[in-house]
Symmetry: C2
Subunit: 214 residues, 2 copies
């Protein structure tokens, strides 16, 4: 499959590398077509890897991953040709983290979510929210986080099925479909606890497993 | 130990019954000293159980549990003689759930929490936030929820130690101290996901286990 990745940070690199290892073709996009982090990544990741602008990556992908900080996609989407996302599965891995107040808070939450805003900003795409509840080391190898549950949500059943298949190929055996994109509220609101635990445990090698009594 | 319980709903009843079974003396408090639900509970729970007003229950308890809906404690506390809570461990099991908008939201979250407001409203007490992340059937028997992790937080180490001992006596083997009372934000913000899962799984017999890779 052809996968576009928006963002050249740790999350984009980790997912991009994993996808090339699984045999997918990956184009990493950034503001500049010749972004240095992307160039370095392409060199390391081999022949399945390429780079370009955000628009290049979106246009390239049959599936497109949002690996941008905070709510940055809501600005980036305005720079994309609308048809570059038409009918595509758009996977939102980002969280509306806001560190501007000195302490952590979410810039959107409770009665709305970034996932919902992403779907509104790209109505021509099928948005699936997932992977946002673990660190990127765990995203690409669930065993690194003790094999937690992966939660996903979105309005399109087919898109969620495609993403679930990809997650399974990455090692995610416990994947739970929470429902429509409004369910992003609950998964994004896990972030304050996630950051608390990250500080407490001293590393990001953990996750949340939904356990059941009967 | 003498335990006061504020509230006569499902949570108060389940915890009250469990505590009497563990040999504690429990007084359940409500607006009226002769609340019918409390009377029925006292009849069933045996000689360790008694009832009274909110003030009676607070005064009685060496440890006092808040088992009230939403943020109701913030009103109830104004009716209590301040010394009824002085120096006591005040366990906040409640969540700032707001169903008034037709759909669920939290009345306090993100940059504040009910746990923090409870501590501000009762500065003479040592507030510990815990048990708010599972249904009452799981609170009193963690196996009913697949033995999840129990999270707690608060400003007083001694109070958290006392509550942890009580939790262990109730069957909680995986108890994690998240830090000070501001960490209530993270646990209360689990509620939208909890309610989502309750609807999805069809019963409340579940919980969140923190799992680790290394």
């Amino acid at each position: 499959m052809k996968i576009g990745i928006l963002g050249t940070g740790m999350v984009g690199e980790a997912l991009g590398t994993k996808f090339t290892q699984l045999g997918h073709q990956v184009k990493m996009g950034s503001r500049s077509a010749m972004n240095e982090a992307a160039t370095a990544w392409v060199k390391g990741a081999g022949p399945n890897a390429s780079q370009g602008t955000f628009a290049d990556a979106a246009d390239f992908g049959e599936m497109v991953f949002i690996c941008l900080k905070g709510a940055v996609f809501l600005d980036v989407v305005k720079t994309l040709p609308p048809k570059s996302l038409t009918g595509k599965v758009l996977v939102d891995v980002s969280n509306p983290l806001d560190f501007s107040k000195g302490t952590l808070s979410l810039s959107i939450c409770n009665t709305n979510s970034l996932g919902e805003e992403v779907q509104k900003a790209a109505p021509q795409a099928k948005v699936v929210k997932t992977l946002n509840i673990v660190n990127c080391e765990v995203m690409v190898n669930p065993a690194n986080g003790g094999n937690p549950t992966m939660l996903l949500c979105g309005n399109d059943l087919g898109a969620k099925g495609t993403v679930t298949q990809l997650l399974k190929s990455m090692g995610w055996n416990d994947v739970l479909d929470l429902g429509d994109i409004t369910k992003s509220r609950g998964t994004e609101m896990l972030l304050p606890l996630w950051l608390n635990l990250f500080g407490l445990l001293g590393n990001p090698a953990f996750g949340f497993k939904i356990v059941r009594g009967y």
